[in-house]
Assembly symmetry: D2
Amino acid sequence: MIIVLTPQSTDKEANEILSKIERAGLKPLYMPGVERIVLGALGDERKLAGLQLGAHPFVESIKPILTSYKQVSREMQSHDSQVKFGNSSIGGGTFAVIAGPCAIETKQQINLSAKIVKKYGGMGLRGGAFKPRTSPYSFQGLEEEGLKLMKLAAAQNDLPCVSEVTDACHVEMMSRYVDAFQIGARNMQNFGLLKAIGQIDKPVILKRGMSATIEELLLAAEYIFNEGNTNIIICERGIRTFERATRNTLDLGAVAYIKTKSHLPVIVDPSHGTGIRELVSPMARAAAACGADGIIVEVHHDPQTALSDGTQSLDEQGFESLMRGLLPFISAAGKVIAQ
Amino acid sequence: MIIVLTPQSTDKEANEILSKIERAGLKPLYMPGVERIVLGALGDERKLAGLQLGAHPFVESIKPILTSYKQVSREMQSHDSQVKFGNSSIGGGTFAVIAGPCAIETKQQINLSAKIVKKYGGMGLRGGAFKPRTSPYSFQGLEEEGLKLMKLAAAQNDLPCVSEVTDACHVEMMSRYVDAFQIGARNMQNFGLLKAIGQIDKPVILKRGMSATIEELLLAAEYIFNEGNTNIIICERGIRTFERATRNTLDLGAVAYIKTKSHLPVIVDPSHGTGIRELVSPMARAAAACGADGIIVEVHHDPQTALSDGTQSLDEQGFESLMRGLLPFISAAGKVIAQ
Amino acid sequence: MIIVLTPQSTDKEANEILSKIERAGLKPLYMPGVERIVLGALGDERKLAGLQLGAHPFVESIKPILTSYKQVSREMQSHDSQVKFGNSSIGGGTFAVIAGPCAIETKQQINLSAKIVKKYGGMGLRGGAFKPRTSPYSFQGLEEEGLKLMKLAAAQNDLPCVSEVTDACHVEMMSRYVDAFQIGARNMQNFGLLKAIGQIDKPVILKRGMSATIEELLLAAEYIFNEGNTNIIICERGIRTFERATRNTLDLGAVAYIKTKSHLPVIVDPSHGTGIRELVSPMARAAAACGADGIIVEVHHDPQTALSDGTQSLDEQGFESLMRGLLPFISAAGKVIAQ
Amino acid sequence: MIIVLTPQSTDKEANEILSKIERAGLKPLYMPGVERIVLGALGDERKLAGLQLGAHPFVESIKPILTSYKQVSREMQSHDSQVKFGNSSIGGGTFAVIAGPCAIETKQQINLSAKIVKKYGGMGLRGGAFKPRTSPYSFQGLEEEGLKLMKLAAAQNDLPCVSEVTDACHVEMMSRYVDAFQIGARNMQNFGLLKAIGQIDKPVILKRGMSATIEELLLAAEYIFNEGNTNIIICERGIRTFERATRNTLDLGAVAYIKTKSHLPVIVDPSHGTGIRELVSPMARAAAACGADGIIVEVHHDPQTALSDGTQSLDEQGFESLMRGLLPFISAAGKVIAQ
């Protein structure tokens, strides 16, 4: 439920109403705007009706939130959210390129990859240290050691860095190394992990589950938001369909759709979304064209030797070419590249 | 199998080899290029081996075609095909916008819609006269009467027109009215229809089936090509997945993928691909960005009254806005709009 | 809309009301029951409301049909339909086994296969003469010649036979050879073909499309029923999903669901539904267990040499074993095998 | 790699070879059989080749394991595994029925439900205390308090109990209350959780992820097995497809397929697999028919008041009817009900 106060209302009235909401056992939300104070109340709608807030002299109007997700919806906040990542931010009028290897492998590999990312205009470094691998016999990542290597490489190249968290009990340790967390497709509905990430204030890139509906994705974001962490970036990374020519089916319609329904920034992963190096660049352009706020791509200084996802990783030349080809589309979208 | 002749070879040698191929019960193909004559041979690979063409003095090299589709593959023809539609063509360096109502309803409706299409830069008119509807109780189209109305509207607005064919026995009659045929998603594997369309020389827009793999789509095109009609335009129109927020999941990755595997032009249907008016424009831009050769969109002078697909149709203002917003992306893609 | 007449009503009153319905431009249906006459009216619900039939003295009650399909729904007819096929019938208390090769290949092959089918208790012979093949370069079937061979084999083994029809213009010719038609998955929404089959009175096995919802499947059946042919057998043959270990995902939940929603008999194709010989028998048992009225399976006297679908075909020993293992489950379901 | 020793071999020779395997950095497996000792070696195949075990006098044969999962494969162990649950076991010649409410709600509710389960032949009690819910605003379960209530109810009705674990850090606490763990669909690839469960020795029911392939499911089981816990029961609970008439598409073909590829017991969840009460019984029968080792179903003493999944839960009468109808199919399958 959204409660719009009259223009004359001050924080005093707002607080009074917020207290009422809280006393009724509902979750109160305070959203000051430029022209008006807007309040929210989440919970049992019948209890809310009992408060008869419509009759309150400082309440101008009350409207229900029709979607199942509330705090991440555009109904609750009509303007785009921006999420700070390093010295820059994601969302709003920029287009962010986060890049790096699938997995952190060696000091040299993450350093060389970071250098490439920085050189051609990437704004953030990605790299996996805890790899959720389908088989127990596949390379599982360098864990904390990998994070140390990435932090160093990021610092040397003046880039913020992001890595996937797979377990709530790693959050504290990882916080010492990363500037943002990624929640991977397989953990999109790992609700314990969502809640744990919701209790810190670092940004989180929340990837869509392989067969998650858009509604489920936004409800997963709601879990994080509801715990207090509003620095959420949604990531479309392809869904699982009958088609196997591409690794996944990149659902750019979902990007355009989410932008109409949620105020959160949305980025696209064309590497996992296609699994084919040659398709990364066209899909990155398409992402810019359909309204995405950025991309996250796999870049490796030497994809032939990559321990995972080599076939979808770009080398230096590939990344340079991606960035060059992407700029006209970012401009066409009325945006500038995030620095 | 592709047979590249030596630079010295002339049509005489080519014909000699083609005869050999034919006598062995294989399908011979003649593909003269700028620098060299290239021949093809389709059929039982063992028979071909028996010909021992590799030893022929005028044969430079022989290579197998690795994909299951042959004649529509880039291995067979590396440059982009262009398909003439009206006075313009689709494929190559242009971006074509074909637009019009889902169904032809009245003389006034198709006229007004055609006027809008022409006014803002559409290069072709679409309209359905034989509607494949899920329920027998839904409006089934005006049939031949509708085609007459569309032909008139197209002529008055100097546009070529295209309509869906659902039955091989309609081909001859429809040929009197339309400049191109569309084969819809439900008939992508109606092989009798594919063969019938393969025997005429009008262009055909072949839509991807709702759950057709890319390989099946290109094999359906191969059916048409193999009968002799090479004027094929592939159309990605969304696939059926678990996601229901959008009507279909528009698979733009398939567009980029097909452009690497086939020489045929590829267009995108963002109207059926999303089912939501607000998403048509972003997905049209994304189509231009990922390498598509055009779009086919639903435009209706008054979507509220449309007998089918009203929620995904653009009105005059919507189409004007689509075209205006699309141009920068066509330019970014290094293309010009097809006139 | 279903119109239940009072117990006192006779055909005279029924006809009077049916005339009213017809004059209003609606489709009247006459369904005499044991205790009461039930009428139906299909079409524009507003027109029907205008008739004010509720006020008619011989009308006891009126109720809407809530599903989009009407005539094939259980709301319209609560008891199970039975469809005659040869001297036996499908639906009701029996379990029918129709078997035979994927494609009719030679006189000997179809004869030997038919003999196996008969010997172990099959009640009908299947065989394809017009094969809808994904590639134009695959074996396309023996066409009319194949049907002649099948008719002969069927007669010699005292079995009725069924074959797939892929084109409306083949219906008349095929009628001379087959006792029932099959409409394959790829043609489930070939509405011209559905209408053509609706105008004859031979039984039709309607297979579910690869990505057809249950509602679409029943609406396809409604197309046939609406033209007058009520001899429809629904066939679940697996749907296309992300899983590729099996050729398709056999949706037995759909069988149980359709049995609650429609009065039509439902059979299952465990051969196409799995694509793996070893799974045919367990899935046939499961079909019997979940309420199906029969199965249609691929049997070939020598699967190694089969021109199509060899890996999913049973040989003599496999079919004998299938039948032996199936009987206890048919009994457990309270049914007897259809002879 | 599977290493079959000669009949003369003793544990002495086996240990010698196991040591070699271990020294080479591979994982050794010891699998004594009735007639012969079989050893396994997992890891880098090249290292194994270097050992030249084929030349060892006590090695009879060496064969590779072709599937990506090793220890859970039938290649590694050809006979069916049995997993002890309470005083009974799952797998082998019995059919197990585990039942209970979706969520533990009150002392009375779990007691009454347990009583029903016991009365009609259920062999285990299920109930959720940590509920992974799509929305943060839905009932999330009674947590430890719920487990206490279930343990009590289970003890009073002489049933072992199972509950879903969603977080590795709950394993120890939950072990005090439950006889088996369930890993839900959303956590099938929560590899940290799989490893944690792999380190205890209580049985685990591993549910298939919503869009997990069979191979991924068996690899998830391999994660658990590889840590040392071999008490794994696979559970097919429906996959996500385009069809929405049923909540999920129950993939019984997967059950039959897994039974050919793995030695682990497989059970079916017809409640989540369909989401429709009327379909639970037919699908339970189909599960028995296609070779499943049991079912897990939702039973609630009063489904109308259930806090979750009421529409798919059976009441006392429904469960009684399920069990009565199921028995003939268990017999037909040559099994007896697990007590």
